[in-house]
Symmetry: C2
Subunit: 231 residues, 2 copies
């Protein structure tokens, strides 16, 4: 999937569901109900590992017209291992995946971006993280990471709704980027904080996956987005 | 497994095999042949994903008396996702796993270390990386990462044989640490470079896994270690 593919999905919804554990009403139950409210689904690595590659593939293929699928593998390894992971991401039917930018270009991100382009996968790079400890080391490298990414034309980023200044700065530096923003809900940011700071999509996880009636939860979220004027 | 467990395995061999792709003579063929020459086996994430959790578990249980097993998941996520991954690592029969240190303590490494201790898993943190691009951003945070890790009593590290100054510095800062060192072979460091710089174990991957006669390769490696006086 490419940039314009994401823009199209954005017209439907600003919401991505993060699935790290089996949803309360099952993954297929949730994906059936969420069709009209959600643009994309981000599968976390523990979920991918627990389900297994063939089951993930079955789900992504079944719902390929309804959602885009992001593999949140937080790739942070050398190019050789990255290449093997990207092959798997493609085989499992994902449209995009997430890598860390701090690994640098030579022998890492450059090879990862090249392979992503070859396979038609969209690459998101983590520009800053959402947890308190991220400010200790990781986020101090924010500018280096974003400048590194710009050198090879990366236009997908992950930046936290809990620390919206990074989203704003990223949007200034990359007006056309697709920015996806976690941290809403369990991690403390309010619904709409990411979008109103410049994110393209907000990622909500446990609030939806742990809900016994996700349709009610999704309608609540949409109503908040409307109240805040972000959709 | 704990620190003294690793010291015991070190008496057998300074060598860890990195398995990222299916070995030329099959994984079980290799593990049968390597018993007398190799201390541990590091499974890379692509290999774990491709094999599936139950198959990995079968292998680690079958060879649990012969090797220690490290899950090279390069964990670089928030504590919640980390916890889910560590449960899986334990279920698959691993003795240890690898996380990135740049994620910081609060809401990340602190929770990860606590959970590892609870489950009896040994935690290795990546202190520096081996590829050329690692020097662009990642390795500039080397001191911050090691100081962060010391605060919560982490005594396992990954540091590259291609850049031995990091191994030497790490050994000075943590005399008792278990340091495992990749980068030997395909990535350019010579056999013995890691150990002679202060690493506890060297990690060799493709040179062994892609060999059609790994027994010959392993004997060659042991002979080089003896010539260089590191065993």
């Amino acid at each position: 999937m490419n940039l314009s593919g994401f823009i199209k999905f954005r017209e439907k919804s600003p919401l991505i569901i993060a699935v790290d554990v089996e949803p309360e009403i099952s993954i297929e139950g949730l994906l059936e109900q969420a069709k009209n409210y959600v643009a994309g689904v981000k599968f976390g690595l523990p979920y991918i590992l627990r389900k297994g590659a063939s089951e993930i593939k079955r789900i992504t293929y079944r719902y390929r017209d309804n959602y885009f699928f992001i593999a949140d593998i937080k790739l942070a390894d050398i190019g050789f291992v990255g290449g093997l992971m990207i092959d798997l991401v493609k085989e499992m039917g994902f449209n995009a995946f997430i890598a860390h930018g701090f690994i640098g270009l030579e022998g890492a991100l450059k090879e990862i971006k090249k392979k992503a382009d070859e396979l038609g996968l969209f690459l998101f790079v983590v520009a800053a993280m959402s947890h308190p400890g991220a400010e200790e080391i990781f986020n101090r490298n924010f500018i280096s990471i974003v400048e590194t990414c710009k050198k090879i034309g990366i236009d997908g980023y992950v930046a936290p709704a809990t620390l919206p200044r990074y989203i704003r700065e990223l949007r200034d530096l990359n007006p056309n980027a697709v920015i996806i923003s976690p941290g809403v809900g369990a991690q403390g940011a309010r619904v709409g904080d990411g979008i109103s700071s410049g994110a393209t999509f907000e990622i909500v996880g446990r609030r939806i996956t742990l809900s016994r009636d996700p349709l009610v939860t999704l309608r609540e979220l949409m109503s908040i987005y409307k109240d805040r004027g972000v959709i």
